[in-house]
């Protein structure tokens, strides 16, 4: 699993970082985005839904949001 540090970034920057990293990965790989903006709870799942990827879990640990993504089919 690959970890991506998105702390202190405000949306849409965490989404952009996730998007750019996912585009480098292959189908089935997992990516953990560690974020501090609560907006990612909505925005990353929305981005994943429209682009064919899957959010496996979102954990809220103190001020951090850990979003685990499974990469779907990239074009």
């Amino acid at each position: 699993m690959i970890e991506l540090d998105c702390r202190r970034l405000l949306c849409p920057m965490p989404v952009i970082k996730v998007q750019d990293k996912v585009n480098e990965l292959s189908q089935g790989q997992e990516l953990l985005a560690v974020c501090t903006d609560p907006g990612v709870q909505n925005d990353i799942p929305a981005w994943c839904r429209i682009n064919g990827h899957q959010v496996l879990s979102i954990e809220n640990d103190e001020d951090e949001y850990r979003v685990l993504i499974k990469v779907g089919q990239n074009d």
Binding site: C11, P12, M13, Q19, G39, D43, W47, R49
Partner: protein, 349 residues
């Protein structure tokens, strides 16, 4: 290219109603659409919600992503923060009422979309522009400038006002039927609202002041002040993010104080304690503040007195604060809170 192949368009998606409707109109004609959303750093979308606690009861959503989901299209969000600086610093067509370089901005975004279109094998671009809707970028005289300067020429389709404009390539080639496009014009929003209802769209975003902080007068004042204090037009992402947060008070050219207005802003400013010197009340409940610039000791004490003015100890003879340098070194300060007449109106940005 095979004329029977499904044509592909890339749409500029702002998250507002117009781009949503523009895409829907061409999807209805069998065109495959993907969306592009550009992030300049000045986008209103999301930020204030993320920072300010008072806004947190409202549902947070990125309207560009929401629009894409309603339309069932892919959305590519593109970071143009660095490239965009030149547009803000040197707009060929000048600024609007504030520091908004709307026409240059639109040219730039269409040009970037054209490059994306060509790299990805798409056929044309869609925008939600409406002739006469915006004073600078959406006028009959300026719309051809966007086509010419961006290099897109007649491969730019504006479905909401196409009938008021010359025929474009997608119409001429028969990829879309001009008769099924719209002839909207002006600032009246009723036709868009009616069309949204017809398509069954509800809960769409209609930002009152547009989607860019550069159109905001207060924000532009703070950005002008930043440039004046530095002696040149320059900014980093953190600078322009901080202009969206807190009270900004500049007693002298070499420093300013950024004071949180509520808990959400305090939390946000705390994230900058390693990049800026900061002040925090210890004797009373009060706001967190950052110091931007190079204040001397007397100026730090004045800044502390100003911060204390916004604390629960504002009427006390003295209060204490911790002054923390960005290196982590701390110093306790005891000051008399500034009275209202000691905080001059011209210091308030």
């Amino acid at each position: 290219m095979n004329n029977l192949a499904q044509r592909k368009a890339v749409a500029l998606i702002s998250g507002g109603l117009d781009s949503l409707l523009a895409v829907k109109l061409v999807q209805e004609q069998g065109i495959y659409v993907e969306g592009i959303n550009f992030y300049t750093g000045f986008c209103v979308e999301g930020h204030t919600h993320a920072i300010r606690k008072k806004d947190q009861s409202k549902p947070k959503r990125n309207n560009a992503l929401w629009s894409a989901e309603q339309l069932g299209i892919k959305l590519h969000i593109i970071d143009i923060i660095e490239e965009y600086k030149d547009i803000v610093f040197n707009p060929k067509y000048g600024y609007g009422a504030n520091l908004n370089p709307c026409l240059d901005c639109k040219v730039f975004m269409v040009k970037k979309a054209r490059e994306w279109m060509e790299e990805n094998g798409f056929d044309f671009i869609i925008t939600g522009e409406v002739v006469g809707q915006r004073p600078k970028s959406q006028r009959k005289e300026t719309m051809p400038i966007i086509q010419k300067d961006s290099g897109i020429d007649d491969r730019l389709l504006r479905p909401l006002c196409a009938k008021n404009l010359p025929e474009t390539m997608p119409e001429r080639e028969g990829w879309v039927d001009r008769e099924k496009l719209m002839g909207f014009s002006g600032r009246n929003r009723k036709p868009q609202i009616a069309l949204a209802k017809q398509f069954g769209f509800e809960d769409f975003a209609q930002p009152a002041g547009g989607c860019c902080f550069l159109t905001d007068e207060n924000y532009s004042v703070k950005l002008s002040d930043l440039w004046k204090s530095r002696g040149e037009k320059t900014y980093e992402l953190d600078d322009i993010m901080l202009l969206k947060v807190g009270r900004h008070i500049r007693p002298e050219n070499n420093y300013k104080v950024i004071i949180a207005r509520e808990e959400g802003e305090t939390k946000y400013l705390q994230g900058y304690k390693k990049q800026y010197d900061s002040l925090r009340m210890t004797s009373h409940t009060g706001p967190m503040a950052l110091l931007d610039g190079t204040p001397d000791d007397a100026q730090v004490n004045l800044a502390a007195a100003i911060v204390a003015r916004y604390s629960k100890g504002r009427d006390e003879p003295v209060v204490t604060l911790v002054y923390q340098k960005k290196t982590g070194e701390q110093q306790e300060l005891t000051v008399k809170p500034a009275s209202p007449e000691h905080v001059l109106p011209e210091w308030m940005l």
